[in-house]
Subunit: 377 residues, 4 copies
């Protein structure tokens, strides 16, 4: 008998979009039951929100300290097992650290922390606590992305020699060109957003995808960033040359000023025997290229797909999966890990890869500020 | 304070795909709480399934009679308000009827019933009981489909003169060409599937979409069906000429032998001032055509979208919505109706349109068998 | 040594678009040399046009009689061998007939004639004269269409059971809804356009494509046409049910009021082992579907393509072919036939298929006017 | 009266693909007449080829010296006016130089020369001779590319801040991974191919497109190239960071090892008010993006297109244009220039831009060899 895993949530109240995404994702495979948390720093708002979404309010706490203390009093059978951290970025580290230190499994929104230093500390804490720790790089949950990963890592396209990942958005464009308006954007304020806007928010997704899919680590990077205006302190666009080796190279392209683009994460990976093209906005179509045969379009739910891909597909072919399904599969992987079941490394991004992401951000900014030089990763 | 609506489920246990779809859909807008039902005719299996998906088992009943009796004993505050009917097609009518007669709101999988006669009886019952009754024509829930509907009905493409809806699948092809195999397909057995396979299962979706989007009723139809083999008793393919009037015509094309097609529901609607193209397998892209301007691609979540469309979009543009989101929006519409809130006719398909669907099936079969003649609808 | 074939042209002068298309097509494979003709009924305009396009004017004739008489005086070595007939539709028959009777090969624009009766007479004339006679169904010249034909006819998709050809345009829409304007459209005037507008102009292309690709003849048809307004005498839209046999059926859909559509000829053909999708506006991508493998995208110029397809591709893969290349391949096929070389039936549409096209038009109109009944073809 | 322009051709004989392309292109607008040239260094083969393609052989010369001397003897009215140079790359410079010095207009295949030094000499010669000189960057001839150029340069997308041009091919992949095979590839032999393979052949197309479309000059570049194997001397892949200014940046990505890609030239250009996406393999669809309106798809031949775009479109919308049409438009632009007619700078690439292309290649190689440093262009 598989009782639902008890899930707590930090943040994600009010009209938070990320809150909806995580709540639905947790429901998708009948694995989790939301039982409490801290939705808002204001306890009244937190309780009101719990009522709004139909949750009992008895385990809504005023803050994380109260949460930890309160849950500690419950029997192991009752206690929250895993906590989703959906708070503003600067709170990811202290909250996740405290949760890990107190034995909770954690599902943490990205970025993992606001600095590499914090990330490394957190990684150590997880190693020590031996808890399950997932960083929600949402796009890795698409079944067909997992299919691509499996095919690449099993050698279908031979030795990878070219990796090109794009993440183009345009959302900052309409509010960037008026100086007074742009001074109000928190993403461009180093005190709130950290050292990077574009690379930190989306370049890191692209970087993670590169390593996730190939199973290889980027060795060195060289970044050229763009602030668009002299008075803007953080990057809104950037191109990063990457090298896996002297003969396996690539590029990561990210932008928040790709005017009119919505959420343009795309993957192009080529090896000695084949290649793949994939676009996040059409997430159920994977193009497999070879030298001499027709291009093949792989879709989810077919017998030709691998186990991890199929495990994340709930309906027959032709029933489109979306971003909620993708996040749902990440939650499903976490559930398997918590239950001690077999699961594949590809089912969620762990704290080690979260650290890699932080390192990537810091090195990109350093490379750019040092005159676009190569730095080891 | 918005308490969750208490939802019961009939059917959908075991590895039922439709069960997953409805459970997740009910969770998508934080509106429903599943509290009981009958997942399986075998009470032990029903309870086991409840445990598997982490539900309390105290309101799992042995059958619908027990369900109705059991819930009647509870206070109004505790009682299940709405029931999803996910059982085999022949049970839709008796179960839905009983539920309506006992004052429950109902969310019924399509087809509504197995005959027009039953459907009409059910419609009368709903009118009398004044309950909310939804038939889950899933594809009407996509935000961009709702956008298309709103634009058509507000006159953006002028007077509609051409409607062309396709629903092509290929699933029956691999099991059709071997006589021994095809004799085992329940969909082709009139005693189990009713009078039609292809038109009944998917042609009716296409028909519903035609009336849903245009807001007009098809006046007459002429159908040519294909059984592919002489010994097959039900249609696996069909083309239906439709007329809204003498000068507004169209065609519905459905197939289960469109080899290699997955779930190819497509819409082409043209009027005096413009047209629309949409494909279910790429559900977030709506093509708006006009005589003299560039084709426009509408996507969900933008300020240019209407209220009903936006209400069904949970994340910013570029985060693909899938079939679960579509069904989730239908549940959301039902929730609004149950709560007595304002809602649009487009938010779910009601019993009246369910009856239309049954009528369409019966008339198509009659037209074909009568030598492909025009029949009023 | 392959001297160029001497080509004459009737019509196509001034700013005629079809004139450009045929001139360029004739140049594409270095097979033809334009040496004279009648570009315009006014000899002065005809000569002026010859000068404009840089042709010598000594073999520009005042009319077809003069053309035939003038060429007869030349040595066989000098004489025009083949004539392209690009005049208004009603002149196709008398001109083509005279040319054939005088031993010229003919490349005739479609429609072949303005009535089935004329078409049959012409067919007899060609049989007697044993000349080469091509009707320019332009879209059959695309290399990837020829690839599809070859694969279908060699059994790659098994026995064909479903054929769905669409030809949607919207050009008549902007000039149709004002009564005074529509009364000026020659296409809607039976004295100029014959018995049909939409089916006659583009439905016939779709019909030809159906027979061209499958190599089968349509046995019976049932047509429902739409004039859009009571005062319009010819069809601007129509759907035609077709049957190759009792178990192999399909539909032809044509429209001139598919608002905003440009030249939307599309093909969907399904058989027991596979299917094909193709769209004329993206003419270099052929989608090959099967029951259980990824969809394949075939493109021109690859080693996996057949001989007839490759023979029509002039550049390596990825260099898009357009409508001129398509027509160029038809001219190339005619050149092979004139030179007595081996060529495939698929390289151009002959007079027999031109007659089929005329029969299709007449039967569609008759079916519609008789109350949408089945008629043999 | 517009007599045809007399065109000579150097190279392009035998089964040369580029020969076909130029011959057809010259015929597309009825502007040119091929009257002679040197198709092959072997005069017998040259004459045989002339006969094969149906040309008179009296002006087929044994070499360029004979060509120049022979044409000089003819009256101005008879003399060849413009010469297409289709010979191997190392002959472009000496031949084009001699032609320009002798007063011929020139249409030169790219690359203009094999070194920047030669290119500059040629530019000087053209300035002195005041002849028309076109370098055939083929892809600039597509009508919808010209439309994009016009819209960008007239400010439709505001100030350009991001330019991303890709040119991915995979042709070298199947012959690269076997050492013995790759040693036979002339493109990888510096004595035959010059200093670069990938950047020289296709990177330069991408670079030209960036400057052609924006009307701006790239100020500095930083290149990272990849030879894939240590023993390969020339690049088969490369990424080039580009800067138009400190706040207007971009990237050029080129590859010959993008396995399975055919001819993947793509354009993404973004400015303060909008953006454009275009793909060469679907050359008739231009995507125009803005912050808040639906994406628009522009296609050729519509009233909304500009003059230069429309002038290059020969048929109504929906009749696909291909690579031959694109090259045909370049020839058409050259014809206008030779005839002294008004023409737009966008109608063909001149010698100045050819020099820019050579500079780009040299600087990319230098940047890479110097450790990926920024170099002025």
């Amino acid at each position: 008998m598989a009782k639902k895993i008890k899930l707590g949530i930090l943040g994600g109240g009010g009209d938070s979009l990320i809150g909806v995404l995580h709540r639905v994702a947790s429901a998708m495979h009948d694995q989790f039951e939301i039982v409490g948390g801290v939705f808002n720093p204001d306890i009244d708002k937190s309780i009101a929100f719990a009522e709004e979404i139909g949750l009992p309010t008895n385990r809504i706490y005023k803050d994380l300290d109260a949460f930890v203390a309160g849950e500690a009093k419950l029997s192991e059978d009752e206690r929250i097992q895993v906590v989703s951290v959906l708070t503003p970025n600067f709170l990811h580290f202290p909250m996740a650290k405290k949760l890990v230190d107190n034995g909770f499994h954690v599902i943490c929104e990205k970025p993992l922390t606001t600095s590499l230093e914090e990330a490394v500390i957190l990684e150590e804490a997880v190693k020590k606590a031996k808890t399950v720790f997932a960083v929600t790089y949402t796009y890795t949950g698409y079944p067909i992305v997992r299919q691509m990963r499996e095919m690449i890592q099993s050698g279908v396209i031979g030795e990878v020699h070219k990796v090109d990942i794009q993440y183009y958005q345009g959302w900052i464009n309409p509010i960037l060109h008026d100086k007074e308006v742009r001074e109000t954007i928190w993403r461009l304020d180093p005190t709130k957003a950290g050292i990077s806007s574009c690379i930190g928010d989306i370049g890191t997704h692209a970087f993670n995808m590169a390593e996730y899919l190939t199973g290889k680590e980027v060795k060195t990077i060289l970044a050229d960033l763009n602030t668009r205006y002299e008075d803007v302190q953080l990057d809104v666009d950037g191109t990063v040359l990457i090298r896996f080796s002297d003969y396996s190279k690539g590029v990561i392209r990210a932008s928040q000023i790709a005017t009119g683009e919505e959420n343009g994460l795309t993957v192009k990976i080529y090896g000695s025997k084949g290649g793949f093209n994939w676009e996040q906005e059409n997430p159920n179509f994977l193009y497999h290229l070879t030298d001499d045969k027709p291009v093949q379009i792989l879709k989810p739910g077919h017998a030709y797909n691998g186990e991890v891909s199929l495990d994340g597909t709930k309906l027959p072919p032709g029933h489109p999966e979306g971003i909620f399904d993708s996040m749902g599969n990440i939650y499903y992987g976490v559930a398997k890990a918590i239950r001690g079941l077999d699961y594949d490394n590809g089912e969620f991004i762990n704290v080690y890869d979260g650290v890699r992401g932080m390192k990537f951000i810091e090195k990109c900014v350093e490379s750019h500020q040092s005159g676009n030089v190569w730095l080891d990763l």
